[in-house]
């Protein structure tokens, strides 16, 4: 029997406890009134009434494309409360993947900035299932606006809470996989509640804290943990281009206690002259791309000695898996990473079951074997935050999920790693990036960690050329600026040094590129599949 539940109940609980305390402040308008928990909860209900009046129904898929704002949070909670299913698509994926994701999500309703509504006119087939268009502002031509919906909602006192149940679908989050095909991850009301509990417990977030996050959805959890949220005064789709000054001003002005951003975001902030505003933080959160050790060190120097940096390990499909502390990493485990043992990600957080299984690209019906400590294999997890599957992608489900015996579904992270004797997880790269030679399986991050220590190397990628099972490893190097090889002799010498550093006598080549292609969103994830393709053409 499924127990009645709706994740928006948590907002109501917080509103009952924290009442008039401020829940939301607008970073762009620091002087404006802040919204209290009571008011936010009431606004969500009123907006939900307006949505119902406008024909929204429980179960409707609602594409949400509005900037982080007071409206954004009120709308998300209104949708949860009335049982509609918001669709979140990362706009930084680029136009084509975004359109692909929308087509796949097949929304019945759209709440989007008016620019999106106009773009939709050019792609009628992508939006063919849409029945209602809503824009956030009163000014505009297409559809109704959120202020209008609020007015409509105010006239009604209809019950809006939908008894969704813990298994009930709450949202679909589209992320671009390493293949570039966006996939919708299914989130239930219960999984969101599991994330609330897991983030609260692993980070020790207390009511009364203040959150600044470059990932707006994360802030929804802050609210139901009783923390206040500063609506970020930045373009959250371009974290690498953020102007650090206003952000640091917000952190200072609102008394932010924890802040969340990608490595690119934090790199901008620590480079600012005003970075002493970071002294007020007790926790820094970093995710979205691998955290470079030099950035972690720099951040640790910029925050208070009692504060720490956390780099949650997980994926949209299951988050968080672990919550490694950068202080512990930098002060100890980093040495082993630099020796090529993989990236330390710590012990799984409370409630996460984790296993290492033999590597395979085949779908699995059961877990046949578990690997002993220190043996690299596939990382699989299950917990209260493990999502059940993808939106309308049965083949992807088969590849990523294991329905073994009783209990919840296992998720295959698509990552490789091992557990050491102390139960710490060490990450050894993506499964799809492994290089399989005649003799063995090579894990690129382990080799790259060695190579990246060379003073002339900015970043590197180890890829395999040739047929799977008979691949030859090739090292592709992006040098630090001004350190590119000058002339044939220099190139040969540097290549020789790097080959020695890599510890791999079987390298087919060391190649140099002006820059390595990285993901658009974070400017940090190296696109090895592109480099592999390029290397195939450069190695005989």
């Amino acid at each position: 029997m499924s127990v009645d539940f709706n994740i928006a109940d948590r907002l109501q609980e917080v509103a009952e406890q924290r009442g008039g305390h401020w829940a939301l402040a607008d970073g762009d308008h620091p002087e404006a009134d802040r919204l209290s928990f009571e008011d936010l909860d009431e606004d969500a209900t009123q907006l939900a009434r307006g949505l119902l009046h406008e024909g929204f129904e429980p179960g409707d898929r609602v594409l949400v494309f509005i900037k982080p704002s007071l409206d954004f949070f009120a709308l998300v909670w209104a949708l949860f409360r009335m049982g509609a299913v918001p669709i979140f698509i990362d706009p930084a994926m680029g136009t084509k993947p975004v359109l692909r994701a929308i087509r796949e999500a097949d929304p019945q309703r759209v709440v989007a900035i008016e620019a999106v509504l106009w773009v939709a006119k050019f792609y009628p087939s992508v939006f063919s299932g849409v029945k209602t268009w809503i824009r956030p502002q009163s000014v505009g031509l297409l559809g109704r606006s959120l202020p209008e919906l609020r007015k409509l909602g105010a006239k009604s006192n209809a019950r809006v809470r939908h008894p969704a149940g813990r298994e009930g679908l709450a949202a679909v989050l589209f992320t671009s996989g390493s293949t570039g095909f966006p996939k919708g991850v299914l989130y239930s009301h219960g999984i969101f509640d599991g994330q609330r509990a897991a983030l609260g417990a692993s980070l020790g977030i207390q009511p009364g804290e203040v959150d600044f996050s470059a990932f707006p959805l994360f802030s929804c959890f802050s609210l139901i943990l009783g923390a206040s949220v500063v609506v970020p005064n930045m373009d959250t789709t371009k974290p690498g281009a953020v102007d650090p000054t206003p952000v640091l001003e917000s952190i200072d002005r609102f008394g932010v206690t924890y802040a969340f951003g990608s490595p690119a975001f934090w790199r901008r902030l620590v480079a600012s002259r005003r970075r002493n505003a970071l002294q007020g933080l007790s926790r820094v959160l970093m995710a979205g791309a691998p955290a470079p050790p030099d950035l972690l060190k720099e951040l640790l120097r910029s925050i208070s000695p009692r504060a720490d940096v956390f780099t949650p390990y997980g994926a949209t499909e299951s988050l968080p898996v672990s919550m490694p502390s950068a202080r512990r990493y930098v002060q100890g485990f980093l040495t082993r990473t630099l020796e090529g043992e993989g990236t330390w990600v710590g012990r799984p957080v409370e409630g996460v079951e984790l296993k290492i299984i033999p590597i395979t690209d085949e779908p699995l019906d059961e877990i046949e074997e578990e690997l002993p400590p220190n043996e690299v294999g596939e990382i699989i997890v299950r917990s209260a935050v493990t999502t059940p599957g993808y939106f309308m992608r049965p083949v992807a489900d088969a590849a990523a999920k294991i329905h073994a015996g009783d209990g919840p579904t296992w998720h295959r992270m698509g990552d490789l790693g091992y557990l050491d004797e102390a139960g710490h997880l060490w990450f050894c790269g993506r499964k799809s990036h492994r290089v399989v030679t005649r003799a063995e399986t090579v894990f690129p991050v382990q080799v790259e960690a060695l190579v990246n220590q060379h003073p002339r190397v900015f970043r590197s990628a180890l890829v395999g050329v040739g047929e799977r099972g008979r691949e030859r490893p090739v090292l592709v190097i992006e040098c630090r600026s001004g350190e590119r090889p000058r002339g044939r002799q220099d190139r040969r010498r540097l290549a020789g040094e790097l080959e020695t550093a890599s510890g791999r006598p079987d390298l087919a080549a060391v190649l140099f590129r002006a820059s390595l292609p990285v993901d658009a969103r974070h400017n940090a994830k190296i696109r090895r599949e592109l480099i592999k393709e390029w290397a195939e053409g450069h190695v005989r």
């Binding site: 097949d106 087939s125 063919s128 299932g129 779908p363 309308m392 992608r393 049965p394 083949v395 088969a398």
Partner: protein, 302 residues
């Protein structure tokens, strides 16, 4: 007396384990049709109409799941699956429609829900339109029941006079290539499964229907089946308003997104699932997703 070339019953038949149905025979003018008829006699009926180059084997997971509560009927078109390979038969759309109607009459089916796949869409819809009021619900999988100018070059090639017969009838290329291209979950293409799709079409004579189906796709008004398809196309509106489920494998190189959109345009109230990473044989890739949705469809009344 028709020349009955019953195939697939003498060999080892590894596919039998996947297809544990007795089947029965219905005599139509040109030969005997093999029909799976499972489930309680008095239960609501679901009729499943296959396309080309498949047979009732394609529906086996649906039959197994639904037969406990519903009477499930899945015929093999004449020349296909376990049905006769008639020597004198036109293999035209209109004839297949006639035969399907005869099967339903012979089994005394009054009202039924209809599931169609591939070329079964036109045949099933053709039959349904003779008495639309007898159709309760519709389930549509990667198919069409309307005219289209779109035809993939690989299929157009098979319509060539010499190449077609040689490729399809000589080498069973159509069924073999379909098996390669229509199922995305490669690990599911076991020898057992392959035998299910290939064994009934073992031999030149056994494969005549596969070629004739491809040749019967009407692309121009002069084609003998053009008017049949036109009538179905124009009559399709008579089926609107019925509970309907559209389930589509998104990796279909033939019945692509434009066909899916056309179904949705004609039946805007239908529940539609675009299964992005599944192939033309969408039931092979996603029966675990589809069966529960079919069960829900069968519970809907209007």
């Amino acid at each position: 007396m028709t020349q009955a070339v019953l195939v697939g019953t003498t060999a080892a038949q590894p596919w039998r384990r996947l297809y544990p149905f007795e089947g029965r025979w219905v005599q139509v003018p040109a030969g005997r049709m093999h029909v799976v008829d499972e489930g309680p006699r008095d239960a609501p009926v679901m009729v499943l109409v296959h396309g080309n180059p498949t047979w009732s084997f394609y529906w086996r997971n649906v039959i197994s799941a639904l037969r406990h509560r519903y009477r499930v009927i899945a015929p093999d078109h004449l020349g296909c699956g376990l049905s006769d390979r008639p020597a004198h038969f036109s293999f035209r759309l209109a004839e297949h429609v006639d035969n399907l109607a005869r099967v339903l009459d012979a089994l005394e089916i009054d009202s039924y829900s209809l599931g169609v796949h591939d070329w079964g869409g036109a045949i099933g819809a053709g039959c349904a339109l003779r008495a639309p009021e007898r159709v309760d619900r519709l389930a549509v999988f990667n198919t069409a029941a309307f005219r289209s100018r779109r035809i993939p070059s690989s299929i157009a090639l098979c319509r060539w006079p010499l190449f077609g017969p040689l490729a399809i009838q000589g080498f069973n290329a159509f069924a073999r290539v379909a098996l390669l291209r229509c199922i995305c979950r490669r690990e599911r293409v076991t020898p057992e499964l392959s035998s299910g799709y290939l064994d009934p079409y073992d031999g030149w004579q056994a494969r005549e229907a596969l070629l004739r189906f491809v040749q019967d796709i009407p692309m121009r008004p002069e084609h003998p089946s053009w008017s049949t398809l036109t009538a179905i196309d124009e009559g399709l509106v008579a089926l609107s308003g019925k509970p309907m489920l559209i389930m589509w494998g998104g990796q279909d190189f033939c019945f692509d997104r434009s066909f899916y959109e056309e179904w949705r345009r004609r039946f805007p109230q239908a529940e539609a699932h675009w299964l992005a990473d599944c192939g033309h044989y969408v039931l092979e890739d996603a029966h675990e997703h589809i069966v529960p949705n079919l069960e829900r469809l069968m519970e809907r009344t209007s």
